[in-house]
Symmetry: C2
Subunit: 250 residues, 2 copies
DNA sequence: ACTAGTTCCCGTAGGGTATACGGAATCATG
DNA sequence: CATGATTCCGTATACCCTACGGGAACTAGT
């Protein structure tokens, strides 16, 4: 009764494996080389540009040769993701807030350097060292508060989800700017007709009130950033407060 | 000096347009028919199944005929999204909490019925009636609290982002279950080798402590749900508290 | 009844994508 | 030099989107 054993785990954790004795035809490439090449292409031209054919061409090798190193394209994507997660290099001491700040900064930087991350699903992520390092770091950050064990995971997941959502949103915005040639503000301007020709004032009283109050003066990307910081503040404050006993509204 | 005028706005707001006088060859289909057919296919088999060729075949029409009704596939996707957003039918009175609850329930139901929504980016969404109805509803919900105008938008965006993130995550999980044939738990089980062969206890003390404390007993989907509810509670509480004056930590 | 104007319908053609299969090439070892 | 192991890769299949342009089908006007 043999279990199905996915070939991806040994690949993700390949750095923990000692090299086998050399036998057979020696390889021209390596998994690392394939992965870093794919990352380089995706950084510059987007995820879909990093096709098997393109990566192979970049390495002066036939397309099918890549399948010696990587089982298929989804697995290559997993390896790319865990590689940049690992390179984020989450380490450091400090208070709860300091650690969260470090986590957020590094995460935003990672998504800015590798916006194609936003083109890949977060569900069922690669279970490699990079992914686990993130889990550990955020959990450890929350643990500094002294919360009960059962509350650590929800709190850490909430923080990671919130930060990652915002970083992904920013990355998607950057990708769209590159593929369409338009910034978010230019995109909105191009659709100014919406307000002139289609918007129904009576059906949207609250939006209209805010508009008339002049509170829509910031660009769309800035509004998203505002909401991110506002929400992060509420989350952190709520998590901290839950340590000090009763947190009901009086 | 003519501005570039996107053809998509009149399509999104087509219900606000009075029918033109009939002239020329009468159409066999309609925009609504194309959009609802595409939605039906995507509901049953995923977004990529709703290709131009497939939708056309379903309507017994040649592929290129669709381009009479819809400028291109991305625009068709926009129309699909706004259609189901509009069908969510967000209306209702009530307290802040009641409205947020209604918004969350309807949103989760929408993503359950149309999981392909999670395959489309949230950045630069279709600016149609469905999208604007969501904005208005959430803003109005927050407005019941009497917050200052400038705080309405960040608060509403935070709520919508949080709820939508969770609904999308659940939808992605459902999509993966369908395409892979494995539930999330089965997927984790298949990777049990991770803990046996690869996981480094010393590098992950916090995770290990939680594990030993037995706080990892819930499945991955349930953990995500827990984190969602936990975080939503913190956000709502924080937003409510900010009405009652100073909310600093003592 | 005829024509002009308008709109819809759609065949063809081109450039992408991932990967199953099987055989040739290249190495260390005995 | 033979053997076994491993890498390398040519071919073929089945999708995808959409630019272009010409034929078909209708109304309105005369």
């Amino acid at each position: 009764m043999e279990e199905f054993s996915p070939r991806i785990l040994p690949l993700l954790w390949r750095r923990s494996i000692k090299a086998r004795k050399a036998v057979g035809r020696p390889p021209r490439l390596s998994v690392d080389l394939v992965v870093t090449t794919a990352i380089r292409i995706a950084d510059a031209e987007g995820l879909e540009a990093a096709s098997m054919a393109r990566v192979a061409a970049e390495l002066s090798v036939a397309t099918m040769s890549l399948y010696t190193y990587v089982p298929s394209r989804p697995e290559l994507a997993d390896l790319m993701v865990d590689e940049v997660f690992w390179a984020r290099d989450l380490r450091g001491e400090g208070t709860f807030r300091e650690r969260v700040r470090l986590y957020a900064e590094r995460t935003f930087a990672m998504y800015r350097a590798h916006p194609w991350l936003a083109e890949l699903s977060r569900a069922r992520p690669p279970l490699g060292p990079g992914m686990l390092a993130e889990q550990e770091f955020v959990l450890a950050a929350v643990a500094t508060l002294g919360l009960p064990l059962r509350q650590l995971n929800p709190a850490a997941t909430a923080i990671a989800t919130w930060v990652t959502s915002a970083a992904r949103h920013e990355a998607e915005s950057a990708l769209l700017r590159r593929t369409t040639g338009l910034s978010t503000d230019e995109w909105w301007l191009q659709r100014g007709e919406l307000w002139e020709s289609w918007f129904d004032v009576e059906a949207h009283p609250t939006m209209t009130a805010i508009w008339n109050g002049g509170a829509f003066d910031r660009g769309a990307d800035e509004q998203a950033q505002d909401a991110y910081e506002y929400g992060l503040g509420l989350l952190l404050q709520g998590i901290e407060k839950s340590v000090e006993g009763d947190d009901r509204v009086p």
